[in-house]
Symmetry: C2
Subunit: 337 residues, 2 copies
Amino acid sequence: MVTIYDIAKKANVSAMTVSRVINKSEKISEITRKKVEAVIKELNYIPNNSARNLITKKTKILSLMITDIGNPFFTSVARGAEDKAMQMGYQLLLCNSDENFEKESKYMDMLISTGSDGVLIAPANDNSKKNMKKLTKHGIPFVLIDRRIPDIDCDQVLSDNEATTRRLIEHLIKQGHRKIAIINGPLVVSTARERQQSYIDTLKIHGISVNNDLIKESHFRDSDVTNSIQELLNLPESERPTAIFATNNFIGMNTMKILYRHNIKVPEEIAVVSYDVPNYTENESILTVAEQQAYNFGYIGIQLLIERIEGAAPEKARKIVLPSEIHLRASSLNQRD
Amino acid sequence: MVTIYDIAKKANVSAMTVSRVINKSEKISEITRKKVEAVIKELNYIPNNSARNLITKKTKILSLMITDIGNPFFTSVARGAEDKAMQMGYQLLLCNSDENFEKESKYMDMLISTGSDGVLIAPANDNSKKNMKKLTKHGIPFVLIDRRIPDIDCDQVLSDNEATTRRLIEHLIKQGHRKIAIINGPLVVSTARERQQSYIDTLKIHGISVNNDLIKESHFRDSDVTNSIQELLNLPESERPTAIFATNNFIGMNTMKILYRHNIKVPEEIAVVSYDVPNYTENESILTVAEQQAYNFGYIGIQLLIERIEGAAPEKARKIVLPSEIHLRASSLNQRD
DNA sequence: TATATTTTTGTTATCGATACCATATTTGAA
DNA sequence: TTCAAATATGGTATCGATAACAAAAATATA
């Protein structure tokens, strides 16, 4: 392996001078710079970051902790994060918690060990608080995206869950629905709680009583909604929902599939609205969705993180709320409209 | 920061002994092990990998170079890679080349600098050969996935492009099509070449002459097929294709969308077959696709890579070809069948 | 009991870069 | 021309771990 000493020797300068050239220090004469750069190129020298990190305590590596890279939502987050990180000269370590606190913890140790300069994290659930504390103890800055954690005060990029859910539910109400079900993720996740709360509040505001039989808890990943939907369909006619609100893309997607299998017409028999289902296939989607700014969660998140790392951020934690865009489509629109 | 010396001091042993405990060396008495482990836990000690890497020359970091994390195909690859890497105690550095050789090269320097133990790479195109040579020069093992590179002999996990394309085209021929168009990615990518060659060979075998007007070159990413399709539609009736073969998911997806916009009925007016379009939305897809084992590209790829890194691989390069599965659906099936 | 053998622990040098301070060289002003 | 100031370069210690060898302690053997 070519080291800084090999370069120094061949260029007839000290290692320190080579280091200065590499780090673009200005206190170098044009002549020596050229000379050194020539040798660097000739020998194909690439600095050893382990050595550099050891002394500088900086790795230029950020960790991206998401719950599921298989989820198109997080794929967009990753895209945004990667774009910004690359642009700023940082590399990205991919961590996939699978919505699982233990796996997240294991990654946490690895990324601390590796010396991540910072972490962009969509926490698995409220337990992740422990992991945030650990980061703080190790002096590693982090930015929370998508999901907040109670009592953790830090830079955040979040979605406007309250407002978006309200608009979604009010849309259903306007379409004449009174029996609206929600199929949600686990309530240990802040987004699930916020969406459910907004769902409840909105119903109440509009004088609709909340029926607990219409509230189903599933998973954001491996979301098998078969049972939830079966239970909804088994309700007596008077209670049976005429609309379903799915709180994430997989739940929405699977809801549509199961309804289809049951031969239930959407929206005639049951209307559906969902969060974030991507339109990856052939025709235009028929599903009404609230589309979050996934890409910006990653992009802006990394920006905040780097500002924090490089000391360019204000002391006070920043909280950025990105609005979602609602696409009204056939799955929730009455024919007569 | 807590170092190995802090632990040593507090546990009343030498740093070397602590190191042995961390690395699970057996030459440690049960008593001292317990003692040291207690202190490690008490002080929340996590070893500094930069220091460790500097001397061991191993980082336990692998790089995953893909062309687009936004592409569901590569998302699955990443999922498989992540699963296996985590299982084997490695971390994954995410590199996104955007089908761009320069960006790939930039990442290459970064990952060499970081000290990646190995690289799993879907190369941008044939130019990537230079980058492979660079890796070799730096003694970093790599495994090629999805795309091969001329004259590069290394472990590979590839798709059976020849056979799969043939089956796809023969299916179309069996459905009565003689005028079959192909909308392909750039021919500097091996998969594009192989699929096109197989398309041509299959037509010839079946006595169908190849019409160059039916061969369109687009992009695997940001694939705007508007022009290609417009040109196909502008062909005189006698030449106009009755079927289109899309060589990747984005091309397939966009082809369907554009045809839909042109109000062209699929499959009645034009049949469509494609590679890899995921079924991420509401209903069952109507698109006939060849589904590659994307997950296994990542999973097996990482496995081969780690075997190679850890010296558990045979000298000779291994080439693993994973068959694709064809899902016949409405987009290519005649009504009468 | 004395010695050989095995097991456990410690000492020192080292990995490849940069920090910090010292020195040499150049430039500018008097 | 001379000396001060500014600029450019170098020497040495250091980051935190492990390698390689050395020594001490425990155990086995005669």
